[in-house]
């Protein structure tokens, strides 16, 4: 089985394990109908139609920015699903609970964004985690650290691109949780007690990083098999 299929299988198994038929119905039914309301009034999105060449087009305006967030949450969710279904050797109870929590949080973010975007949501992406050794603690936590720090910087940089204050607030609700994750991962991975907010990520003014989407997507592209078109995202 290829790595990509492995991720799909793992994703499926999580929903089979945790999600009963009732949950499936819950997921596919009224929730989505309600959720569609969230983005009503945003521009109608003809660019959600996949490009003929299979490139995933994020779209424009706030929809584009939320789809960009949805890319990152899909990535993180798929990663932690892999981590939890294939826990690294000799994992401690505290770290196992942490990995399960992070999996839950990222899946919740992913599912929420999908619902919020409704018919404007991009499809499910496929990922390549072949560079990660899931049996190895260092490999898993080092990757988690990259993802969490990247997520923080991505949301910090994307805030100014949003037009709707409701979406900005939601992005704010998510980014601080990503920052809590980043600090926790750094704290268990790194021996430096100051790593949780280390000067590799926090500057001399005490500010965290803020990245533009192009930079974030470029960094994330190592793990994403789909080609993503972010050219319509707002730039300022």
């Amino acid at each position: 089985m290829s790595k990509t299929n492995q991720v799909k299988e793992d994703t499926k198994s999580v929903f089979q394990n945790k999600g009963s038929r009732r949950n499936f119905l819950k997921y596919s039914g009224a929730g989505i109908a309600t959720a569609g309301i969230l983005l009503m009034g945003c521009e109608d999105n003809e660019n959600m139609v996949p490009d003929l060449d299979g490139v995933v087009n994020l779209g424009s305006g706030d929809v584009g920015v939320l789809n960009y967030a949805y890319v990152l949450e899909q990535l993180e969710a798929a990663f932690y699903i892999n981590v939890v279904t294939n826990l690294y050797r000799n994992i401690s109870d505290v770290e196992r609970t942490m990995m399960e929590d992070l999996r839950n949080h990222e899946v919740a973010h992913r599912d929420f964004l999908k619902a919020a975007l409704g018919s404007n949501a991009i499809g499910e992406l496929t990922f390549d985690f072949s560079s990660v050794n899931f049996n190895n603690r260092e490999s898993v936590l080092a990757t988690a650290k990259v993802f969490e720090d990247l997520g923080v910087a991505a949301y910090n940089g994307a805030g100014k691109l949003l037009q709707n204050p409701d979406f900005l607030l939601i992005a704010g609700k998510i980014v601080s949780v990503e920052a809590r994750h980043a600090a926790a991962i750094r704290s268990i991975l790194d021996s430096d007690p100051k790593s949780f907010a280390g000067n590799d990520v926090i500057d001399a003014n005490g500010l965290d990083r803020a990245f533009e989407p192009a930079m974030v997507l470029n960094a994330a592209s190592t793990f994403i098999l789909n080609k993503i078109n972010a050219s319509q995202l707002p730039t300022s």
């Binding site: 999580v14 929903f15 999600g19 949950n23 819950k26 997921y27 009224a30 929730g31 989505i32 309600t34 959720a35 309301i37 969230l38 609970t97 942490m98 929590d101 839950n104 949080h105 919740a108 599912d111 929420f112 999908k114 619902a115 919020a116 949301y155 910090n156 940089g157 805030g159 100014k160 204050p165 409701d166 979406f167 900005l168 607030l169 939601i170 704010g172 609700k173 998510i174 980014v175 601080s176 949780v177 920052a179 809590r180 994750h181 980043a182 600090a183 926790a184 704290s187 007690p193 100051k194 949780f196 907010a197 926090i202 001399a204 003014n205 005490g206 965290d208 990083r209 803020a210 300022s236």
Partner: protein, 266 residues
Amino acid sequence: MKIFQLLEMYSIKPETLDTFTSRRNAFAKLGSFGKKVAMAAIPVGFASVAGNKAYAATMEPLDVLNFALTLEYLEAEYYTKGLAASGLIPAGKDRAIFELIEKHEVDHVAFLIAGITASGGTPVSKPTFDFTVGGAFNPFGNYEQFLALAQAFEDTGVRAYKGQAANLMSNKALLTAALQIHSVEARHASEVRRLRGLKGWITQNERGAGMPEATQAVYNGENNLMQGGVNVTTVTTIGSDGITESFDEPLTKEEVLTIAGLFIAA
């Protein structure tokens, strides 16, 4: 317990804060603090009239920065005093952590003062803080209490910045800078919580083991399951604990001032 008398004195009844009157009263009792934060022109109570949204009571960007500066003054002084209290913070890992947090808060104060000045505003002056709340707490003589208040301040900081983001949308540079401070506060919160043996994130509206009851206002509302009009429980298989951990909630300016006001003597 003395803290309850103090809460009475400040008219702080979290369960009634949603009403116009109690908000106005709570705010009025904070007295000089309110003036210092330079919000005289803001009709307090609009938040509840216009809808229960963190940004419903709009503040101009400069007022937001002064509001943020007041919180950063509080945090910076707290950690500076904590580090100066002999024998309080254990050497090694704990001390390294608080040295870094203190550095960031001091940096935030300087950054905000520079930003307010550069924007043509006047930075508010530092209030006089009383971290003992009239003797109810002993944070600089008791490390457990020091940690508990640190957790409360950091979790409040996260919620406070989040609640003001929308008020900075007209100035993208300020918004981005505020978000960059916001995530640093969240890193601090996570670390302090974990140092106290808790998870780095907030489950439901639990303040966590060992937190004084007086800090519950910091956690009220964190059990929200509705995001952007979506009941998140209907769109995911993740349970409500996980959902509440996944979204940090904002606090209104008034809620933040009620919490911070406890520690402001003048």
